[in-house]
């Protein structure tokens, strides 16, 4: 059953790629607009072998990891704190609900001024984008801990720490992991997008630079790398997520 769907999915993706390949090769899509996927891939392999953009890739990757870790840890701690203080939570609720409506990126210039140039403003923007989803996920996770579990822990006379580590954390883990998954996605978007707009290094910057200099082959090869990286990260996180969700339903 599952195999069949995966097959269809692979078919759809491969069909789409072949369609674009055909359109590019036959000249329906001019070379000036888009190069063929096979050419993108080959050029990407070549770029990696030459090592021309390795520095940018490493920079972006380090920023994404840093932003994800900060957002997840800080978001989790803030979520715990807010959950422990119901009155604070009530006042913050409207803010959390409308946070993603605010176009945060309009504050980029302010961030450069406050944090200076370099990696710090980029990580700060990515954290700002990613942290709220982690806070929300932590609150949901703590809300959904079944009351019977807390009661059982009390009946067994577990200490506060024991009940937190052995009972509550495992019970909230599936929800927490959904938060982690989204946080990583948002950190990725935040880092690449701010590199594109305001930085002097990183993959986002390299794509913008290649575009401004009409280096279509470099640009598309880098775009394809980003696409593949996002897909791989998603596949891994979804695997882990599916395992957690299955455990929750058991």
């Amino acid at each position: 059953m599952v195999k069949k769907e995966t097959g269809w999915r692979a078919g759809v993706v491969i069909g789409f790629v072949l369609l674009i390949e055909g359109l590019c090769r036959s000249g329906v899509i001019p070379v000036a607009v888009m190069i063929a996927p096979s050419a993108m891939f080959l050029h990407g392999v070549e770029l990696l072998r030459e090592g021309r953009y390795l520095h940018d890739i490493a920079t972006s990757f380090a920023n994404i990891v840093a932003a994800s870790v900060v957002a997840v840890v800080l978001g989790f701690l803030l979520g715990l704190t807010i959950h422990a203080l119901p009155s604070v939570r009530r006042s913050l609720e409207p803010l959390l609900a409308s946070y993603y409506a605010v176009p945060t990126f309009v504050f980029y210039p302010v961030f450069i001024v406050v944090f200076g140039v370099g990696a710090l403003p980029i990580i700060a923007i990515a954290v700002m984008l990613a942290i709220v989803t982690m806070i929300t996920a932590t609150l949901t996770g703590l809300d959904r801990i079944p009351r019977s579990l807390s009661k059982t822990a009390r009946v067994m006379r577990l200490t506060v720490w024991q009940s937190a580590l052995r009972v509550k954390l495992p019970a909230a883990l599936p929800y927490l992991f959904s938060g982690v998954k989204l946080s990583v996605a948002y950190a990725f978007i935040g880092v690449i997008a701010s590199e594109f707009i305001l930085s002097g290094s990183g993959i986002g910057y390299a794509i913008g630079y290649a575009y401004n200099n009409f280096q279509n082959d470099d640009m598309y090869a880098l775009m394809l790398m980003v696409l593949i990286a996002v897909t791989l990260i998603n596949v891994v996180l979804n695997r882990i997520d599916a395992r957690f969700q299955a455990r929750r339903q058991r």
Binding site: E5, W8, R9, V12, V13, A32, V33, M34, R90, S91, L92, E93, P94, L95, A97, S98, Y100, A101, V102, P103, F105, V106, F107, Y108, P109, V110, V113, V114, A185, F188, I189, V191, I192, A193, F196, I197, I203, G204, I207, G208, Y211, M219, L222, M223, V226, L227, V230, T231, N234, N238
Partner: protein
Amino acid sequence: MHAGGNAMKKWMGPLVVLVVVVLIWEVLHDIVGSTSLGSPAATVAQLWQMLGTVDFWVNVAETGRALGYALVLSVVGGIALGVALGVNRMAGTVAEPILVNLYSLPKVTLYPLVLLVFGLGLSAKVAFGVMHGLIPILVFTMNAIRQMKPVYLRTAHAMRMPLRQVIVRIVLPAIFPEIVAGMRLGFSLTMLGVLIGEMFASQKGLGYMLTNAMNLGDIGTIMSVALFLTLFALLCNGLLLAADKRLQHR
């Protein structure tokens, strides 16, 4: 009297949050100085003065027009595709991971592609807005249909309703609350997309005003436009949130 007290309690929380945000802003301003970050009072004053100029409203109208087109396309396209994929279970299961993957892709990197395809101007901005806003509306609609009570569709089947009637009379009314929830997310993302589009590919609009001010280092204008956009986004989000709550309680 009691109702008055309740209303006050309801407004108290957001009010406290607002005061805290303004205070943090003021403190930051005092730390970095007014050349880097305008004070709240100065920003409001400049925004008020800006609201009196014709030039500002020309830009607002330009952004509004692009946002309007992009919203119509995102909502109509998102609902139509969502219904199509939701009714056909197999197609939905095949498409969902692909859509989620596209959603977590940093779409700024695809910007050069959009420019090369659509050229500079309105259509590129609209396309960029739709790229951001369509997928969340689509996913919300699709999942709402999948989680709909099966008895609705079975009844329709028993009544031998034609497919078009099933969609218009049963499916759409049943999932209306989820569509509104999807629109809330879709609205802010569409606006984000249109603004980013204007920052790179336009000579008019609020996004262009932002880039222009960034290049001139005009922090006052940046802050005023950012404040205007934030207030507008919060207002629209609040209205949709209220509609959402009312529908959930139905």
